[in-house]
């Protein structure tokens, strides 16, 4: 199986504090990888390292390599804007721009220089279809995005991420603000998207990781304790610490 991202001997520091230690993680192409662990274990920090979202934090420093299709994303000549177009992100709380539904999805393509109306129309429709939102909003594309319910807003954010045709989608607890029905819709959507994209999701919801992902990595105090097939992690983990965490004995 091909690795889309290969993390090797990766360390990350906030000033003197080492937030991530010696990570080695294979992220498989067109699979869903879930990252679990208690609050503060470094999983979100790691997710943000995957598209260099931590770069702007003062004192932040990375060591080691993260290879995207074999190229180190921390190499000095890497254009971060292009990198973030290839590796998109969906956040915990739905964060649509205070604009219309249409303009939210068209935002990325416009930034990348696409201004042709017919092409934008097509991209907006395809992205909304891919995010399973098209049928619900097709007749009100000019309505404000903030008028949508939270589940629809999150799917709109996914459509916005898809619109720039990324290769990888990072999701940081994308369902924590959603009800169970909206959560299932986002999970269904992830399963559809994974035919074309590589997905990495951070979640506190064990059942979500078990249901939706193919691979699971368990983080503890900035280290990767165990990484394996999701089924193995949740039925017969090899590490005592993983066992204790997923069964609720530690955390």
């Amino acid at each position: 199986m091909q690795n889309k991202i290969e993390v090797s001997d990766f360390n990350f520091y906030y000033g003197d504090f080492q937030a991530l230690s010696n990570l080695n993680i294979p992220i498989r192409a067109r699979q869903i990888t879930a990252l679990i662990g208690p609050s503060g274990c470094g999983k979100s920090t790691f997710l943000r390292c995957l598209n260099r979202m931590n770069d702007t934090i003062s004192g932040a420093r990375a060591e080691g390599q993260i290879l995207l299709d074999g190229e180190n994303i921390y190499a000095p000549d890497v254009d971060v804007v292009t990198l973030r177009q290839r590796i998109g992100m969906v956040f915990q709380r739905p964060n649509p721009f205070p604009q219309s539904i249409y303009d939210n999805v068209a935002y990325g393509p416009r930034i990348l220089g696409n201004t042709r109306r017919d092409e934008l129309d097509q991209t907006v429709q395809e992205s909304l279809e891919a995010a399973s939102l098209w049928n619900e909003v097709r007749h009100r594309l000019k309505d404000p995005a903030l008028a949508l319910n939270p589940g629809q807003q999150q799917r709109l954010c996914i459509a916005r991420a898809i619109a720039v045709q990324p290769e990888v989608i990072l999701m940081d607890e994308p369902c924590s603000a959603l009800d169970p029905v909206a959560t299932l819709r986002v999970e269904d959507l992830m399963r559809q998207l994974v035919d074309s994209y590589t997905i990495v999701i951070v979640t506190h919801n064990m059942q979500q990781a078990a249901r939706a992902s193919d691979w699971t990595g368990f983080f503890w105090l900035g280290r990767l304790v165990e990484f394996d097939h999701t089924e193995t992690i949740f039925s017969a983990p090899k590490q005592e610490l993983t066992e204790a965490y997923i069964t609720g004995r530690r955390g």
Partner: protein
Amino acid sequence: MRIRQRFEQQLEDLRGDVLRMGSMVEHELHEAMVALETLDPERARSVIALDSEVNQTRFDIEEKCFGLIVTQQPAARDLRSIVTVMNMIIDLERMGDQAKGIAKVVLHMVQSPDIPRPAELRQMGIQVARMLNQTMTAYAHDNIELAHAVAEQDDEVDALYAHVFGQIMAHMASAGTPAKIEATYEALRAARELERFGDLATNLAERVIYMVTGRFQEMNIDREDLIG
């Protein structure tokens, strides 16, 4: 009590339930073997009544398992121990059926007391009872060494069965009438029930090993399968 503590207590209670069910089946087998030894129809009938209790116990335990799965959404070792229980109670219930089968053989034998009862039957009964007892001890203490030892003993049971089979075939060949052949078949049936009882005890041991280690391991390999 905190939620996790309560769950641990429920898992321990579940283990206690399975151990009690194991004792019930052990008692059922013991009664069936005494009935066979003494050709006591009353005792045989009491075994049939015991078996209904075993069956009911299985359903009660199964219901508890469903309750724990739906309320606790268990994972890892917790999940394995519940799934192990759900499998073990099915095997234990079948072992109870095997003991009941022996009781039914006794009821037939009472009608024709000259049916042969090879001495190996008694040995088989002692052997498979020991296997069940050891498996339940292994389950009670997460003892995988003991579970492995149970599986090894099944070879002896199979050897005893082969012995009984040979004797009964010889007896059938010399039996003059179809009625006598049919009666002799009953003795073979008893041996067959005991042999299956041993196989299921081995299954239980496999379940215990899975519960503790998370790995499936087939131990009941049929020698004839190996020969092809």
